[in-house]
Symmetry: C2
Subunit: 243 residues, 2 copies
């Protein structure tokens, strides 16, 4: 069940059994990566897409001076670079953060799968647009929130996204990021990330220790981060998914 998490619990879209089967068949290989490996470099021409099955990946742009800015973090079930299917080349790089397992789906196979299936193509398109929506929320975060708000907003997002694929209980989850990673995500220095995390801890809002995030006060978190999960297009009823 490599792709069972893909588009799971997303509002406005839902894969049918036959579509899941088709995508499953399009998987050419399953691979593993060590932490902190570059999977695809900016500008490379790519002929396949990467579906993250386990672990965390990120997408980043580097500065001429060598500092990176992460532009996306991916959780299991994300089609990390589905946009390479229509685009062929990427404007950024992709790397693993933790150890990962991922499925490789050749563009060629995708082309066959969507042939004559506009509805499925629309769903794939939709999936890339959620990524764009997340980009916009990140822009809001960077533009309008201070350091405390940025970290809180990001952790709220991770909580919501992981919960929707069954990897958070809504308050506690494993997040294999370092403080330096958080800095690259939120556009700040790791020193300042450290101070902000301490504040969240001292205010009994949230703790982040050895890769485990515990949200003590979801209300305060949401408030500090001005977080509204609307942009994630998560089905509000996803808790009752078996109904």
């Amino acid at each position: 069940m490599l792709i069972e998490r893909f588009l799971r619990n997303k509002r406005g879209v839902s894969l049918e059994g036959s579509e899941v089967a088709l995508l499953q068949q399009a998987v050419a290989a399953v691979r593993h990566s060590e932490p902190r490996q570059t999977i695809i470099s900016q500008g490379e021409e790519v002929s396949f897409c990467t579906l993250l099955v386990d672990g965390l990946m990120c997408r980043y742009i580097d500065d001429p001076s060598g500092v990176r800015q992460m532009v996306a973090v991916h959780v299991p079930g994300d089609f990390v670079d589905l946009h390479s299917f229509p685009m062929k080349e990427l404007d950024h790089s992709i790397a693993s953060i933790t150890q990962t397992t991922y499925a490789v789906v050749p563009h060629q196979s995708l082309r066959q799968v969507v042939e004559g299936r506009e509805e499925l193509m629309r769903k794939l398109w939709f999936s890339t647009l959620i990524d764009a929506s997340i980009h916009r929320a990140w822009l809001f975060r960077m533009g309008r929130l201070g350091a405390l708000g940025r970290i809180a907003h990001f952790l709220c997002e991770m909580n919501a996204r992981l919960e929707s694929v069954g990897l958070s209980d809504g308050r506690r989850f494993v997040l294999g990021l370092t403080q330096a990673d958080l800095a690259e995500i939120c556009g700040m220095t790791s020193v300042h990330v450290n101070r902000v995390l301490r504040q969240l801890r001292e205010r009994n809002v949230c703790t982040f220790r050895s890769s485990i995030v515990t949200i003590e006060s979801p209300e305060k978190m949401v408030d500090i981060g001005s977080f509204d999960p609307y942009y994630l297009y998560i089905n509000p009823g996803f808790g009752h998914k078996m109904a």
Copy 2:
């Protein structure tokens, strides 16, 4: 020729004459707006897309406290909310900045147009992915550049995008934004935007007066803004488009 600028000079994609005609026929109405009008509000269910023909529009997210963060600026030829076609609802609002002319394209018509035309659908998809790519560049801008760099980067982007649709000569263009708009785009205050613009002027890099931007030193601009236009997916050979 309402849509003649759409996807013009973009690398990796090019509309055929028949496709242009089809899209043209899908236009249900042409409308005008005054400056500073909300066109679509966040959360609204939409049944049509907006193709900007003339003027500037923006997309923004507002803060609970009422401050806006712009997440996109659109120039003529942009399909402002093509993503509403697969998504149906928007996670942000859309507003005009200047007076605008835009074409209204019902989702229904688009559905008919793409039916059985996967290649055209792929091109539309591509177009929404360029927006996502621009979002990522904005994230880089916000996360890694200081105030001076942010303004320079943004003006470089506008220059490149406007040039690709014939609205900049490569150094000089009309940009109907106020300093307060620039602040909302770059995540800073308008007071500070003002000081940064003065710096660019005093260093003979760029001037921005009464809606006219003049880039005196493209080299310095690119350098200050760490600008690499790769992410815009503009055809490098677009100057020779008639060849």
